[in-house]
Subunit: 343 residues, 4 copies
C-alpha cells in the first residue's frame, strides 16, 4: 500500500503560492478518522482566500490545504472513534464546533473556526478529521454531488428550513443562480413553496425553469421588485435569499412580504449592507445573517436529499491537477457548483 | 348632561393648522363604544405628523384629531357591543386591524391603518372607537400612566418578549432614555435580564440606574461597543433596542452577541439603515423591524404590568389646553413619556 | 328570482328529528354575506351531534342547521362588507372567533363557538355568514373538493405545518385513512416528508400507497411500533397524527422519535388518553391537542393546495336529499371525505 | 499530597450493597479533568436506583459511584483540555451527550447516558470527568447551593424557559414543594410570572409564600383546579409543572389555559399518565416530557442565578459519612433539596 499522496497547499495569499505537492499520508490520532477523499467542491470564499488571503492567511505557520467541502470514505479510525467505521461514507462539516442550537463564539470573536481557513482544508487524497467534524454521507448521491452539501447546500437549508421554516405555498425569491441559489430553489420546491428566480441571464433563467422554478425574472429587462409584486398579487416574498448584499438589501426589503424574511448570504455588491427603515418597520421584516449551519442541520439535509432523490446542480467537474482552472471558473459565475474529483 | 366637548384637530400639516375646537360629542354606532378620554400620551411620530404631515396628511378630507394612545372609560356602548360594558377602563390599540399572529397587509401596502394618522385620533374629551380597537385597561395604573402603553410600551414588549423571548440572565442594551427605551429597560428587568443603558447624558444615565439598570454607558466618553464587550466578558448583547437607526446599526451589529437580536425601532440618525455584512453573517445576527405590536400582546403587557406593579416613566404632564407645549417638549428629548391629561 | 330554499334542520338529538324543509332565503345584515352553497362536507363529529347531541343540542331554542364546512359563492353582501364581493368563491371557517395566534377562550370555557354546533350550520341552499367567518376559496379545486378543507384539511395542516413545522426528510406516521389522515399524508408529502400509513385494511393501504405514501403497515399483521422502528432504522416518528386516542397514545409514545410530536386528533378508542411516562420523558415527546385551526392557517392551506394542485380525497358524493345516507356512510369508515353537493 | 480518597459505591441494588470505601484518586486521561468534589445533591431517582436498581444496575460489571450532581474545583487537567483550567469551579451535566438543540438518541434507545446511572457517578472526594461534561460554576453561590443546579434546577429551567418561554404576567402552577417545584417557583418569579403553589401541607405553603409565591392552595382543603380558575378569573394556568403524574394529569389538563403547557416531570402517582381528550383538544394543550436539559441551558441557568442572586432552597445538608441518612430524608418529602457536603 502506498504511503504518499498528493495535496494542494498554499504558503501565502496569491496563486503563485499555490502548489500541488507529494507528501506522506497522515495518521489519525485518538478520536480522529482518516478519510480517502473522493470529491471536493469549491466555494466563492475559497477563491477570495487563495487570491487575497481574506484576512485569514497572514500568519500562516505551516502550508494550508485549501477548500472545506469533502465527500469521501473512512479509510482508518484512530483510537476511541465511535461515530464511524472503516468503509463508511462521510461528508465534512464546515464549522466543526457548532453541533446544534446556538453554537460557540462571542461578540468580539465570533464562531469562526472552519476547515480550509483557520483549520486545515481538504483538497488532498487523504485527510484526517476529528470524528465530530463529519456526518454520514448521503446514500443516493455520488461523491461528486455529495461534496456540494457542506457549505452551499447547508447554507440554503439553514436559511429556508432551520431558520426560515419554509412551508408549502409560500413565495420564495432566489437571487442569482450560483450554488447557494440553486440549492435554495431545490429546497424551496421540496417544501412545496412557489419559487421566483431573478437573474440577468436568460439562458440561466431557462435552466432554472427546467429545474422547477415557477417564475423567472430577468432583472435587466424589468424591475424585479415590481415583478415580485405582480407575480404574488402584491403579497410579496415570504423568503428572500439575499446573495447580492450592499445597497441591494433595500430592494429586497421592498420586495419582502409583511413578516417576510431575508437571509443575508452574499456580498457581490459590497460589504456594507443597507436599506430603508420604512420597509423594515412597516412590514416587520426579519433580516438574518446566515453562516452555513450546524452539524445536525447537515444531517437533516442529507436525510432530505436521500429521501427525495434531489440532485445538486453541478456546472463543471475538474481533475485534481486542474484546481487552478476550477478557481478561474468561479470568476465566470457558475450555474450551480464546481467540483474537483480527487479519488 | 352636556352634549359638546373639546377636541384638537389638524386641517393640514403645520402648527398653524392645529386648533382646539368645541364640537358635538359623537354617538357610537353598531359595534362601537363611546370613550370618555382621561389621558393621551405623545409619540415622536405625532410631532412629525403635526409639523410635516409625514406623508399622511396630504389629502385630508376632514380635520384630523391627532394622537393615538388613550386611556379612558367606556361612557356608552353601541348596538351589538360585547367586549366592554359602560364604566370599564380601556386603552386603545394603535394598529386596529392586527389582532394576533401575522396580521394584515401586503408588500406593496403594508399594514398601516392606525389611529391619529390614516384613522381619526384620540385627543378629544370623547371619542368613538370600534370595540375591537381597545383592550381592558390596567387595574393598578393611573389613566395617565396607562395612556403610555399602546405605542411605547407595546413596542418595547413586542421587541423583547413577543418577538425576542428575553430570558433571565440575557444581556440587553438599551439605546437612549426616551419612552420606548425606558419601557425596554423595565420589561427587560421584569424578565430577569441584565440591562446596559447607553446615553450621552450623565443625568439621564443616573436616573436609569435608579430605575434598576445594571450598567450605564456614556457614549460620549467611551466607545459603547467596547464597553459592552467589557461588561459582558466579550459575550456581547443578546438584545439591542436600536432606536438610533442610520449607520448606527453598524455599531449595534458589532455589539451583538452570536445569535443576538437587534430590534429596529427608531430613526434619529436617518431612514437608511446600514451595517457590516461580516458582523451580520459571522454572528448570525437577526435584525427585525418592530412596528408597535398586536392587540393580544397589548393584553399581555397590561397583565404583566398589573402583576408586577411596574410604573411607566412619565417625564411631564400637560393639560388639554397645553398640547402645543407638549409637542415642543418632544423636541427636547424627554426622559420617558409625555402625557396630556384630558378628563 | 326564487325567494325560498331547502335546508336540513335538527330540532333535537336523533335522526327522527332531522328534516329537510323549505324556508325563506335569509338576508345578510351589516357585515354579513349571503352564500349560495355549492358543497358541504361531513365530519365525524356531525354524526355524533345528529345522533346523540354531543352535549350541544340540549337547550335548542331554534332548529339547528347541521354541518360546518361549506364551499360556495357570495350571492349578496350586507352593509359594510369589505372582505368579499358578489360572485367570489369562499370556504367557511369552523371556529369563527379564532383569527390567528393564540385565540380566545378560558380554562373553564374553551374557545368553542363553532358552525353547525353552538352556531348555525351550513347544510342549506343559502346561508348567511359574518364576513369574518370565511376565506377566499381555492381557485383550482371544485366546490366539492374545496368543501373538505375547513375542518379535515385544516386540522392536518395545523398539526403538521402551523404547529409541527414539518420539514423534508422527517418521518410522519399517519394512523388510519379517514379525512384528516389522508390530508396529513398529502400535506406531509407536499413538504418532502417520508410517510408511513398504518391501517388494518390492505385495500386502503394500497390506495394510500397510490397517493404517495412511502410505507404501508397493516397493524393487524405486525406490531406497527416495531415496523416504524424497522422502517426508520430505530429513529422513530418525528410526527404522529394520533386519531385513535385512548390507551393507543401509549403506542404512539413508543413510536415517537426523540423530540417527536404527537398531534392528538381523534378518539376512536376512548376519551381518556393515556401512555407511559418513561417514553414521554426520556424522549421528551410533545403531545399537543389539535382543534382544527385558525383562519390565517386556512388561508395558508388554500394557497398551498392552489399552488401544488393537490386534490382532496373524496370517497363519496351525495345529493342534498341523501344527507341521511351520507351520515350512514360515515359509520362505515370512509377513505377520505364524504360530501353533499347542494348547488 | 494524599493519593487516596473516600467514595461511596454500590455493587448491586439494595442498601446492603452500598459502602463507603477508600480508593486511589483517579488520574485524568486525554480531554478529562480531575475534580475535587465540594458538594453533591440528591435526586429522587438516586433513591430509586440505590434501593431498587431502577432497571439500570442489573449487569453491574464494576461498583457504581452513586449520584450525579456535583459542584467542585478543577484539580488537574488531562492532555488537550481547553474548556477549563486548574482552580476553576465547575458543575456537572447530567446528560453528557446533549450539548444543545435536539440531542442524541433514537425511538428505541432514547438519549439515556447519564452520570450516576449508565455512567459512573460523583459521590467521591475526587472524580474524573470528560471536559465536555461540565460547565463553569456560578460565582455567587456556595458549592452546596451550586450542586443543586444540574438536575433539579435545570429541569425547572428547561420546562419554563428553554421550552416554555415563560413571560411576565403568565400564570404558573407549581405542584408540590420538592426540589424541581421550588426551582420552578423561583425561575417563574425571575421572569415576572404569577405563581400558584399547590400542596397538601400548610407549613410548606407558608414557606412557599415566603419565597414569593403569589398564591398558595392546600389541595386537601379545596379542589385545586377550581382554585386556579378562581385565582385567574377562569383564564387557567399557562404553565403547569406536573410532578405528580398518573391520572393527576387529567386535573392539570382541566386547569390549563387555552394553549397552556404542561411539563411532565414526576411520577409520584404512577408511570401511566392519563387525562381527558376534551380538555386536551378544546384547549389545544401541549404536554411535554421534560428530561433535565442540555448543557447550553445549564450555562444559561448559571448565568441567570449569578445575575439575580437567587439562592436554591436547601432543606438539609449531610456529611459524607451520612449519605444513608440523606437517602432516608428523601422519603420524607424534603422542602427543596438535600445535599451531601464532601470537601
Amino acid at each position: 500500500m502506498t504511503t504518499t499522496m498528493k495535496r494542494w497547499q498554499l504558503t501565502a495569499a496569491g496563486r503563485a503560492n499555490l502548489k500541488l505537492v507529494e507528501t506522506a499520508i497522515p495518521t489519525p490520532g485518538p478520536g480522529e478518522v482518516l478519510i480517502k477523499v473522493a470529491a471536493v467542491s469549491l466555494n466563492y470564499r475559497d477563491k477570495l482566500l487563495v487570491d487575497a488571503g481574506f484576512g485569514m492567511l497572514d500568519p500562516l505557520t505551516e502550508p494550508l490545504i485549501p477548500l472545506s467541502d469533502v465527500s469521501g470514505i473512512v479509510a482508518a479510525c484512530g483510537e476511541g472513534v465511535t461515530r464511524f467505521a472503516v468503509g463508511e461514507r462521510i461528508v465534512s462539516t464546515f464549522l466543526p464546533d457548532w453541533i446544534d442550537g446556538d453554537g460557540p463564539g462571542t461578540a468580539r470573536h465570533p464562531n469562526g473556526r472552519n476547515l480550509g481557513g483557520s483549520l486545515q482544508g481538504v483538497l488532498a487524497e487523504y485527510i484526517v478529521l476529528n470524528q465530530d467534524w463529519a456526518v454520514c454521507g448521503p446514500r443516493k448521491l455520488s461523491h461528486t454531488e455529495a461534496s456540494t452539501l457542506p457549505c452551499a447546500g447547508l447554507t440554503a437549508w439553514t436559511a429556508l428550513v432551520e431558520r426560515g421554516r419554509v412551508r408549502a405555498g409560500q413565495k420564495v425569491v432566489v437571487l442569482g443562480t450560483g450554488g447557494v441559489s440553486l440549492f435554495s430553489l431545490q429546497i424551496a420546491l421540496l417544501h412545496g413553496a412557489e419559487v421566483i428566480v431573478v437573474s440577468g441571464d436568460d439562458k440561466k433563467l431557462a435552466r432554472a425553469r427546467d429545474l422547477g422554478a415557477h417564475h423567472a425574472i430577468n432583472r435587466k429587462r424589468e424591475d424585479w421588485v415590481e415583478a415580485v409584486y405582480r407575480l404574488t398579487s402584491d403579497h410579496g416574498a415570504d423568503h428572500i435569499l439575499e446573495t447580492v448584499g450592499g445597497a441591494h438589501l433595500g430592494k429586497s426589503l421592498d420586495a419582502a412580504a409583511v413578516a417576510g424574511r431575508i437571509s443575508l448570504i452574499g456580498i457581490l455588491e459590497g460589504l456594507d449592507v443597507s436599506g430603508g427603515f420604512g420597509a423594515f418597520a412597516r412590514k416587520r421584516v426579519v433580516v438574518e445573517g446566515i453562516q452555513v449551519g450546524h452539524r445536525r442541520a447537515l444531517e437533516d439535509l442529507v436525510r432530505a436529499f436521500d429521501l427525495s432523490g434531489t440532485t445538486p446542480v453541478i456546472d463543471a467537474i475538474y481533475g485534481m491537477n486542474d484546481f487552478e482552472a476550477a478557481l478561474d471558473h468561479l470568476d465566470r459565475g457558475p450555474f450551480g457548483k464546481i467540483v474537483v474529483e480527487v479519488g
